[in-house]
């Protein structure tokens, strides 16, 4: 027998030991998740009846614990309620003795999970072994799709924001036509005017970025508060990382400065009389 099989055998023994310590007259113990306990107004010590179908609720059990399940993004939208039972109690209830969906195997230190799974699969018949890494990867497919969707939406919004920013900066600089004309009339050099307008554009972009960062934090907090309440979970839905802030601020500054530079260049190369409206 390989170390892997021994380990799985130990798991089954543990379950048997749990059963053997129970008094025969005791009802099977059931652990109920907090949301379900709250919905059914259950407390520890209450007796409940369970069954595999609505017309065969004959299995009695006692609530031994109420637990808070680990937040699972894959489960929140389903709105399902969970309870936990000892394996023999559950198989008896379902009428499927000695049948399980899956077995978990803990490996001894230094053994690769992938090579152990491959070794098991070489002789597998009627089952399939997967390493935890592969299962995690497979079960995160949904989130990869959501992530790709978010990225695509983000690209569209970034392009929209970029065009918006370019437009606003252009208008902002063009608003200074009269000021630029006056400066040119009194002999201020084009380069100085260009520098002043560019500096103004960068300052506006920097201030806008700061304000935007603050707004993003507020929106993120509101999003988390809303969805945590909506799904009754502790999961984080909106996470603003330093990388995201860095990217957004840099993009705003580059676009702001770029738009400001284009607009300022156009302005300083326009005749002062035209800027004054008399050209």
């Amino acid at each position: 027998m390989t170390p892997l099989v021994r380990q799985s055998g130990r798991l089954l023994v543990l379950v048997t030991m749990t059963l053997s310590t129970r008094l025969p007259a005791q009802l099977p113990e059931i652990a109920i998740e907090r949301r379900l306990a709250s919905e059914l107004d259950l407390a520890v010590g209450d007796t409940i009846r369970l069954g595999p179908a609505a017309d065969s609720i004959r299995f009695a059990g006692v609530v031994a614990a109420i637990y808070e399940p680990r937040s699972d993004p894959a489960e929140i939208a389903k709105g399902e309620w969970h309870l936990r039972m000892h394996l023999p109690d559950l198989t008896r209830l379902l009428g499927t003795p000695d049948r399980v969906d899956r077995l978990s195997i803990g490996l001894r230190g230094g053994i690769s999970a992938d090579s152990a799974a491959a070794r098991l699969n070489r002789s597998a018949y009627g089952y399939r072994a997967h390493s935890s890494r592969v299962i995690a990867s497979e079960s995160s497919q949904t989130f990869r799709v959501v992530s790709r969707f978010h990225r695509a939406i983000a690209i569209i919004t970034i392009v929209a924001s970029a065009v918006f920013l370019l437009c606003i900066m252009l208008l902002k600089v063009e608003e200074r036509r009269l000021d630029a004309a006056v400066m040119r009339f009194v002999g201020v050099r084009r380069r100085t005017i260009f520098g002043a307008l560019l500096l103004e554009a960068v300052l506006v972009a920097a201030l806008g970025s700061l304000l935007g960062t603050g707004l993003a934090y507020l929106a993120g907090a509101a999003t988390n508060a809303y969805y945590r309440r909506f799904f009754d979970t502790l999961l984080t839905f909106s996470l603003i990382t330093p990388d995201i802030i860095w990217f957004s601020v840099m993009l705003s500054l580059v676009l702001g400065a770029g738009a400001g530079a284009v607009a300022a260049w156009r302005l300083v190369h326009t005749k002062p009389l035209v800027l004054w409206g008399r050209g």
Partner: protein, 397 residues
């Protein structure tokens, strides 16, 4: 000069800013259209999927949704007979879903198996070959992926195995069947290898024959308008079962995908805000630059109403041009986004998140046009209320 001509001339005067504004509006319009399609598309697509075979009601074990759990109901034949006797029920059938294996050379492949009643089935459409006859216990239907996986065509034989026994390394509940036809299973995800047999054969393969088990029952009312009444009647008659009409199932599904609908509303609203800001800012600056021109027109006798109309027309022109480009852009991006979302694991291949429809296009267009026109209200008010004499004096100095 007509109002439209005046607006176009004004926009031509500042080409760069007009082009940038139109580009911004186009992207906002594209995003709005996509979000309008997303918010309604999920519901429409799912409804079409459920009604693709005309069956409006599903019955499942209490507290479950079709194929959401492995729960099954017992006495399927008896239940189907009872349901068929209910007035206004045109057809009813039972379905059992289970996983099973098939032999390919010296290896085994895993398949999804449907047990169906061919005389009342709501799950597939024929692609080639012939349908199973009621009670045909020697035939099997394959999906195209299953046909490819098993290298089997119509007329070939395949061996299906219901259960493998790892303890003694033997196959149990095996059966060799002849391929009757290739079908498209309505609820299969992309590439899902599925097979279908008559209910009794699949029950035997799954070891569910003794209790006559089924995963769900499908019911077709004589008329769509009777579906809700029939569902209510079935709920009263079979309290141990979960009875869901298409509307109920759509409601459950919408609840699960509530995130996408909310995202659609938020992003749609944001795109409208961007449109308002763009048009509002552009026109306000244009009006400020043209205050002298507007004051001169007012002094010549042009009414305030005319000035307001011209400014609002300018907003409408910008929005219309941006929206036309945006709708084309939106349809292209919707295809791309739909390609991403429909790659969700386990989602039926026939499902779509972004459904382009005439009413979606019309809604997005009307909302944008209204928004763009309303965004011009402030600059129009500014133009209409500017003091004529003071503005002309200021222009002269």
């Amino acid at each position: 000069m007509s109002g439209l001509g005046w607006g176009l001339k004004s926009l031509r005067r500042h080409r760069l800013r007009a082009v940038l504004s139109v580009a911004g509006i186009a992207i906002s319009a594209a995003l709005l259209l996509d979000m309008v399609m997303l918010s309604g598309g999920i519901e429409r697509s799912f409804t079409e999927l459920l009604l693709s075979r005309g069956y409006q009601i599903r019955l499942t074990p209490k507290g479950t949704l079709p194929f959401d759990t492995e729960a099954t109901l017992t006495g399927a034949g008896r239940l189907v007979e009872a349901i068929r006797r209910v007035p206004a029920v045109a057809a009813a059938g039972a379905v059992l879903g289970t996983s099973l294996h098939a032999r390919r050379g010296d290896s085994l492949v895993t398949l999804f198996g449907y047990g169906i009643q061919p005389e009342a089935q709501a799950l597939y459409t024929m692609l080639s070959g012939s349908d199973l006859a009621p009670g045909d216990s020697s035939g099997v239907l394959l999906s195209e992926p299953a046909s490819r996986l098993l290298h089997a065509a119509v007329g070939d034989s395949v061996t299906l195995i219901g259960r493998l026994d790892p303890q003694v390394v033997t196959e149990r509940l095996g059966r060799t069947l002849k391929v009757s036809g290739i079908v498209r299973w309505v609820y299969d995800y992309r590439g899902q290898p599925s097979v279908g047999t008559v209910l009794s054969v699949m029950q035997s393969l799954a070891g569910q024959r003794r209790d006559d088990r089924a995963s769900l029952l499908t019911v077709r009312a004589e008329d769509d308008s009777l579906a809700a009444t029939v569902a209510a009647g079935l709920r009263r008659e079979f309290p141990q079962l979960e009875v869901n009409s298409v509307a109920d199932l759509v409601r459950h599904f919408k609840q699960r995908l509530v995130y996408f609908r909310q995202l659609a509303y938020i992003l749609g609203s944001m795109s409208l805000v961007v449109t308002v800001l763009l048009i509002g800012t552009l026109l306000t600056i244009n009006v400020n630059e043209r205050l002298g021109e507007i004051a001169t027109l007012r002094a010549l006798g042009i009414s305030r109403r005319t000035v307001v109309r011209e400014i609002m027309l300018e907003g409408a022109v910008l929005t219309t041009v941006g929206s036309i480009i945006g709708i084309v852009l939106g349809l292209v991006t919707a295809r791309y986004l739909d390609g991403i979302l429909t790659s969700f694991p386990g989602l039926p291949a026939a499902f779509s998140f972004f459904v382009p429809r005439r009413d979606s296009l019309a809604t997005a267009g009307i909302v944008l046009l209204l928004t763009g026109t309303l965004a011009a209200l402030y600059p129009a008010w500014l133009a209409a209320t500017s003091p004529v004499a003071a503005t002309l004096r200021a222009e002269a100095t």
